[in-house]
């Protein structure tokens, strides 16, 4: 790959790194995994950088890889992570509890699919149909998971704020 393309990729990754890590964090709830997933997504984009940039929306490409990777990990760990109250281990870069927002804590308390629905639907502004396609589930599932997740978030956030 030519130096110019390399430099272009560097600029792209520097510019989109934080947003991509945060998307991965929102989906996985784990800072260590989030950086891994994000780095993997950028590596894949770099591997096909010529094609990716020609397509005109490299950010969408990276975002899709992150979501796919989340889905793949989610399938693998579905049973373990669906257990209520079981949170992924905190990664080394994870902010301490005092630095973490109440909403983030509440988000982390959700199951993977509910967390993903909230992140994609309400943070990434994806439509119900897009969220359903991204998570490979029906629109009905997105609706029901969103309703449950929002209820849990309200409840958890209220409790946490009360404890703070």
């Amino acid at each position: 790959m030519g130096a110019e393309l390399d430099e272009e990729f560097r600029d792209f990754m520097r510019g989109r790194w934080a947003a991509t890590v945060r998307l991965a964090y929102g989906l996985t709830g784990d800072a260590g995994h989030a950086e891994d997933v994000a780095q993997d997504a950028f590596a894949r984009a770099y591997a096909s950088w010529g094609r990716v940039r020609r397509a005109g929306d490299p950010e969408a490409y990276v975002r899709r890889i992150v979501i796919n990777e989340f889905r793949r990990r989610f399938r693998k760990h579905r049973v373990a992570e669906d257990l209520p109250g079981v949170l992924p281990d905190a990664g080394v870069c994870e902010p301490g509890p005092e630095e973490r927002s109440v909403l983030i804590e509440a988000l982390r308390s959700l199951g993977p699919r509910q967390r993903a629905v909230i992140v994609l639907r309400y943070w990434m502004d994806m439509s119900e149909a897009e969220t359903a396609a991204a998570l490979n589930c029906s629109r009905g599932t997105v609706k029901s998971q969103a309703a449950r997740a929002l209820a849990t978030l309200r409840k958890t956030a209220t409790v946490m704020e009360g404890e703070a």
Partner: protein
């Protein structure tokens, strides 16, 4: 819900993010590219892109025999997915005592980027690679456009990871099953399975064992056989599919060009045979194969690098040499090398010296054809 979005936005900003590991991502990206380092050129001589210059000293050698296939004796098994297997599984089996499973993701619409389907492998046959995700023991091999059968009985997509190669084939509707013969004499019978709407087969075998052939048995009892190129250190590359009795091109190997640019040596080796024509050494760890045999027209088959650094192609029998003209007006002469029934060439271009035009001449110095980017 915009209030929730703002809250989420604010909350996400509290997540500490380190410096972007740009160099590490690029290293991983390069590793991904190395795994799919054999490019199959869809139709030779339809790729008409060239570029420019250096003054390579061409080195010729006599054609050498094709690289011998190292004989390993790991017993390889291959079966369709068991009932109840996870979605996407194409086949599973063993290489010696190591297990493997090959699966694909559901084709996904990436919007403007087109569609994408990814190929994965897992099992102990892949566990010792740096590319494996330790939490799932899954090795990501490649992603690309949706798998779909082409005009051949089987259209193989291949990747190598560590000591093993993975071959995934999209199978035409009229193929009943496929028999793969490995280099050590073992045979695998592959039964197509429909995965996400496409009939697929897959097998895993040691790269060092090589693949001798794949034979597709059609519904009407006829067969078509492909003899792949086993290039040194990479997965087998399938090219031409032949009918019984159809003559195949003989095997021959030769270094068709070599030299140095900026103190860095380079060389291109060509392998011709029943698969068509392959060029190796076109860039670090990269090869390209064209399913054309014999390749007897004049033109650039492809190039490596961006901007192009190494250009390779073939010429007609009457062509004696090429004159390459750079955009700055400099010219240099390239002499093709005869290998089997083909006359092939390669040349390198120094940075900042793009190619303007090439012209092919006969022995008497008459121009026969020319081309450019």
């Amino acid at each position: 819900m915009s209030e929730l979005r703002e809250s989420l936005d604010q909350a996400m900003r509290t997540v500490a993010v380190g410096e972007p590991p740009v160099d590490a991502a690029m290293r991983r990206g390069k590793a991904i590219r190395r795994r799919r380092r054999v490019t199959v050129i869809a139709s030779a001589l339809t790729v008409a892109a060239v570029a420019g210059a250096g003054y390579p000293a061409l080195a010729h050698r006599q054609a050498a025999p094709a690289p011998p296939v190292t004989r390993h004796h790991a017993v390889v098994t291959d079966v369709p997915p068991a009932p109840g297997s996870a979605p996407g599984v194409v086949a599973e089996g063993k290489v010696g005592s190591e297990s493997w499973q090959v699966f694909v993701t559901k084709p996904e619409n990436l919007g403007a980027t087109g569609t994408q389907q990814c190929l994965y492998a897992k099992g102990s046959a892949f566990n010792d690679t740096s590319n494996s995700d330790p939490s799932t023991a899954t090795t990501s091999l490649d992603c690309g456009p949706d798998l779909a059968p082409g005009t051949d009985p089987v259209t193989f997509t291949a990747a190598s990871e560590g000591a093993n190669q993975v071959q995934l084939g999209a199978v035409a509707a009229d193929v009943t099953y496929v028999v793969v013969a490995l280099g050590d004499g073992q045979q695998l019978k592959l039964i197509p399975v429909r995965v996400y709407g496409t009939r697929l087969v897959a097998f895993v075998a040691p790269v060092g064992t090589g693949v001798a052939s794949a034979t597709a048995v059609l519904d009407n009892g006829q067969t078509r056989t492909a003899i792949p190129a086993n290039l040194p250190g990479v997965q087998a590359v399938f090219g031409l599919w032949l009918r019984p009795g159809q003559p195949a091109q003989g095997r021959a190997t030769a270094v068709i060009a070599a030299g140095a640019i900026g103190g860095r040596p380079w060389s291109v080796t060509a392998y011709v045979g029943p698969w068509g024509t392959c060029f190796t050494g076109i860039a670090a760890g990269e090869s390209a194969c064209a399913p054309v045999a014999p390749m007897t027209t004049t033109g650039v088959v492809g190039y490596a690098g961006n901007p192009p650094q190494v250009v390779y192609g073939s010429v007609a029998a009457a062509v004696s040499y090429l004159l390459v003209t750079l955009t700055d007006g400099h010219t240099f002469r390239v002499e093709p090398v005869t290998i089997g029934d083909e006359k092939l060439f390669a040349f390198a271009l120094a940075k900042g010296q793009p190619l303007h035009r090439w012209t092919a001449y006969d022995a008497a110095g008459h121009p026969l054809s020319s081309g450019g980017l």
